[in-house]
Amino acid sequence: MLVFAASDKGGTGRSVTSSNVAYRRALAGDDVCYLDFDFGSPTAAAVFDVPGASRGVAAGGLHSHLQGRHTEPHRIDVWAESEHEELRYRPTGSGRLVLVPGDRDGGEFAIGKDTVRRCVNLFLQLESEFDVVVVDLSAGRSYAVDMVLEATAQPELARVLSRWLVFHRWTHQHVIAAHGLVFGERGIVAGGVERGHDKGALRDSIRFVRAAVPDPESPLWAHVPLAQSEWMRKCDRDLTELAAELDLGYARLLGKIPLEPVLQWREQLITDEDVLASKVAGMPTRQALEELAAALVDEEAWERQ
């Protein structure tokens, strides 16, 4: 399965959340591969704590691969190379967790026929090797989004399952922006249809994920004045209404990750150690990530319309 992680705006939590989903799928026994397609800022490796790769790799990354400068993109076995205490040993029963990073100092590049062909080859190869292939795309309308829409429209990928996760924060602007990215005139659906995708099928393969959602009932806000918490509740209700209006509501919602103080400070994976032993991260966050990871492969969640 190919999973495309997209967002209209930068800094929504797309990379951190999708990395955590990848990690959770691997814990559940799937072989998982994480591709950094955020070409303008290839920093996904930082979340996995891989030394020397936090800003991409010195040679053999995805930028140069897709531009045809080498045939084998560098792979990082997270279980073997991560410096994170909890990631250094592969838990029994878990699947592989492989990171395919970008090139250090790589930038966005124009997409041609050759780039798309290489991208199709890469997807086909990884899909035949891994259960889940997570592709972290650049924010907004980017060449990366164009390229994967073009690639997945090719006949070779027609029978490969593709799913889209669109991340957004829980604010008025973010909800409207996420709607635009998916349903807008130059959005994913329109762009996909232009490239030969079936409109209905593409739309049904897209789900939204709300990241860093403040929960008015959370103990975090237990000490705010009543008026303020009333106001927060009202905002939350209004946003829920807006989301429903814009077709970002329940049917298209795959997960909701609470605002997590640990993540506000540091981009990282939320391990069980963080939640259970050191208790720096909140149980609800772990729970939400786990549910999102499960929903990703839950057919029922994808049949809702």
Binding site: G29, D31, G60, R69, H70, T71, E72, R75, G93, G95, V120, N121, L124, Q125, S128, E129, F130, D131, P155, E156, L157, R159, V160
Partner: protein, 322 residues
Amino acid sequence: MTPPDPGPQTVLCGEVRTSVLRTSEALTARTATQLLNLRPDEHVLLSERPNLRVVSPHQLTGVDCRLPALTGGRPRAVGTVAVRAVLTEGRVLQTSAFARLVPGVGSHRKPWGHYLLRPGDIEPLARHQARDVVEGFLASAPLPGGVLNPGSIAERLLDEVLRHQLLDQRAPFKSGRTRLRWTALPAAEGAQASIERFTVAADGLRTVALRTPSADPSAVAALCEDLALHDWLLTTLLALVERSRLGSGDGEAVLAALRPLVDHLLHLWMPGARVPDALAGVWETLERRPGFSRQWQSLVQRIRDQVALRTVPLSRPVMARS
């Protein structure tokens, strides 16, 4: 201590990529022939005994690049690399790129037609030591750009064949690709073919160093394709058995994981089936140590035991298929 330079020698070198064919059903001889019809005016080779093996015609790729070398400078060399695709039992696809480094040394690149008349030959334009080229080639680090790299040529063809519209892109199980890089130096006068090393590097690259009496690149490449095929089978089976959590409790899941192995892989083991006598010694060595077939047999036995154990009492519908 380095042995004395034996003077100019022919070096054969190549790389084999092995992958499962991404199709739900194994291809028949007929479709396999269509798939590998890479040069429409040439024959696809097919042999049905002892198993179905289909070989594409060769393609040539021109190169003008540096030779790998561990210690010395990297001499420039010009020529062509031959590449072909091989499909075993309609299920396992290999692409194999190889070339012969001829011992002579020119100093200037000749007109291209000169090289076209010597398909698969590469002519160095500066002096080099065969040993040094072999060591440089087998060093496991990825070969830098601009250096002779049959692997990337094989990879390109593999991707091309795997995208063919005859394939439904549905492999019966998840599996990776393997890479086997090889070299062959001439064996001593009158000596049999022998294997000097077979290593597995951390990044999955297999390297094989051979000594062969025959300098027929196609025959030596065929031997290496056979080694790569069986190495891939073993690697893939091990990975799949591990994934199936053979020892664990969930019988249904274990069976579902093992089933495709029984259907698609177990019958493919036939080491050395087509290797000519002159090269057969290589397999004999490998069978003694590390003992490829021993490991395969014991894995197969475990799988069969598990399948038998978990099916007998309940006779699940999944086993109804013959």
